[in-house]
Symmetry: C2
Subunit: 359 residues, 2 copies
């Protein structure tokens, strides 16, 4: 029987408490589907800084290496905010994990669940049309990782620089991911760039156009990033899959997330070519509500769903997790962050229990 | 008597028709305040491509040089969309104009006018708190203009690159502008960067912090650009002045603009150290409504207001223009783009007439 090994990185803030609910789900799946799931926990983020002096200790990296997937809670908090940003929990843990495991494909779905449109910051006329966007972000290239950066002096004038750079093959491989995902959805792909200013964007657009020839069923269009920012707010229902570079994806995917009004429901996956991946809720460590048993575990649970889908190729189990979550939401079970009139307020652990029961 | 020379660049699409209303306003001001205003028209954008083969002809540049300010309509349209993006009307006209005249300070106010909150894409609970944001964008530095860019091959792998770069003095001068503007407003400045990833952002943040010592009355904070994108949508009322680099400002200022729901009301100014400036409505050339006499001339008229304020230092006249516009809006005169129930629908030219009358 195949053994599925998951490296569990609860992290800081609400990370550990939502992870407890994640364990519940994993246990139920293990029983119901007679699976052999092995989980091992490792320190990451602030707690790792406290215990090992660094946000991503060697032991954690080794543990992840010996697993088939990483389940990540959340990192960061006020305690570590005064560290130089390069050492901080978020940056110090996430960027090296992404790079080390070659997790070039970041998938961030952002959908509006029917029944909670009222939580969206967008007005009713817009959200009543619904939306379901999948942001595909290149995650290990571009200006994030290029080594040509620094701070220097010329004629005693100080300056700093960073280099945005993309190899054509980096654009090709993320474009293929986006086109394939579009095929399984509404076959609509919008590629974001700033081709009227950036040379990398010109290559980006050219390359995406070339890759598109292999996917004649997908309707491809291009938007400048500034215009995309506006269109997403005005007409989110016009989007299906969105393809972005690392930097633009950082901004655009957060915009997609916020307009749903429910960060606590949004999972994410960061994958490499081999299907190894890091799965992480979109919401962050929310230190202000830590330990109160009010955090929403659904984003983490849906991240487990993505993990089963993309790293374990257990599509059916993934579908089951997702439909159970939708059903539980439909029945009105809600943590505080997504509570509305006539809903059934549940705590973090109760939400985990309800979802486990339905599974 | 001082002569005020304005280079008028109507451009394409609705540019010429809103500019006609601009002339009306200039004529009234000229009469009412016994001013000596001289306007001269020059081609720019698509029409300049058609007539001179280039979006910014030498003659236009010379004309601008011989003036005290540039009043810009709008450029671009489907006719020129298939040109390579470097030659297109927007990019080919705006970027060289900004660089040539050292227009490093881009001011983009975005406010919600009371009475038209319903036009905002944001929900009522958010817009009912109102907002009034001024985006200050560095306009001639950063990744937009750095010459270290290109497309190359290494080991037969194709790649492209661009260089984000800021001299400390470039950050200092735009920061001073932002702090000074904050002093004249709610004394609240948010500086946007990505200091957890970019070396230029680390210098940006450091430099803004240093400049802030000279403005102890201004409350400064920093936000990462991804987070800023979210906060602007959730809590636009928390913002007063926003300071951005060229690339981040391109995105953030468009986000600020769209959440007002009324692009047709938003002016902008791009200034150099000497107070010379280019003034331009935010909305673009809107080729689809060209020639229909329905475009909103208010953004252009408020741009004239900014021109009087920043290039002519005629603050009182600028105040008058602004308060007349607010009054006209308050009285319910509306072009189609901002029409609501019980309003008085007026055409482009009627709106110009009404505002002239009130002046
Ligand atoms: C923490 C930070 C480095 C990271 C990023 O910029 O990628 C985060 O914002 C994200 O989007 O996962
Ligand atoms: C046309 C384009 C080059 C320009 C920019 O990116 O600055 C435009 O988007 C703007 O914001 O004025």
């Amino acid at each position: 029987k195949r053994k599925y090994k998951i490296a569990v990185l609860p992290g800081d803030g609400i990370g550990p408490e939502i992870m407890r609910e994640g364990y519940k789900i994993l246990n139920v799946l293990q029983k119901n589907f007679c699976m052999n799931i092995e989980t091992k926990e490792y320190d990451v983020g602030g707690i790792a800084i406290d215990r090992h002096g660094i946000a991503l200790p060697e032991s954690t990296l080794r543990g992840c290496e010996n697993s088939h997937a990483i389940l990540f809670g959340a990192v960061g908090g006020p305690k570590w905010e005064n560290l130089s940003s390069y050492l901080q929990p978020e940056r110090g843990a996430l960027l090296p994990l992404r790079k080390y495991f070659n997790l070039f494909a970041n998938l961030r779905p952002a959908r509006l669940y029917s029944g909670i449109e009222n939580l969206s910051p967008l007005r009713f006329e817009i959200v009543s049309r619904g939306f379901n966007v999948l942001c595909v972000r290149e995650l290990i290239g571009g200006i994030y990782f290029n080594k040509r950066k620094g701070t220097k002096y010329v004629n005693s004038k100080k300056y700093s620089f960073d280099t945005e750079m993309y190899y054509q093959f980096e654009i090709e491989r993320i474009a293929h991911i986006a086109f394939k995902l579009a095929l399984s959805r509404k076959r609509n792909l919008v590629s974001i760039d700033k081709a009227n200013v950036l040379e990398t964007s010109v290559l980006w657009r050219e390359t995406v156009n070339t890759v598109s020839l292999e996917y004649p069923e997908v309707n491809l269009s291009h938007l400048y990033v500034d215009n995309a920012t506006m269109q997403l707010i005005k007409n989110p229902d016009k989007f299906d899959v969105i393809l972005c570079s690392n930097l633009f994806g950082d901004i655009i995917s957060d915009e997609c997330a916020i307009i749903t009004g429910s960060l606590g429901l949004l999972p994410s996956a960061s994958l490499n070519e081999a299907g190894f991946g890091l799965y992480e809720p979109a919401g962050g460590s929310a230190p202000d509500i830590k330990g109160k048993n009010i955090a929403n575990p659904i984003a983490l649970i849906l991240s487990i769903g993505m993990l089963f889908r993309y790293s374990f190729q257990l599509i059916e189990i993934s579908n089951i997790i997702e439909s159970v979550v939708y059903e539980v939401l439909r029945l009105g079970y809600r943590t505080k962050d997504i509570l509305q009139k006539n809903n059934n307020l549940v705590s973090t652990s109760e939400m985990g229990d309800v979802i486990s029961k339905f599974l």
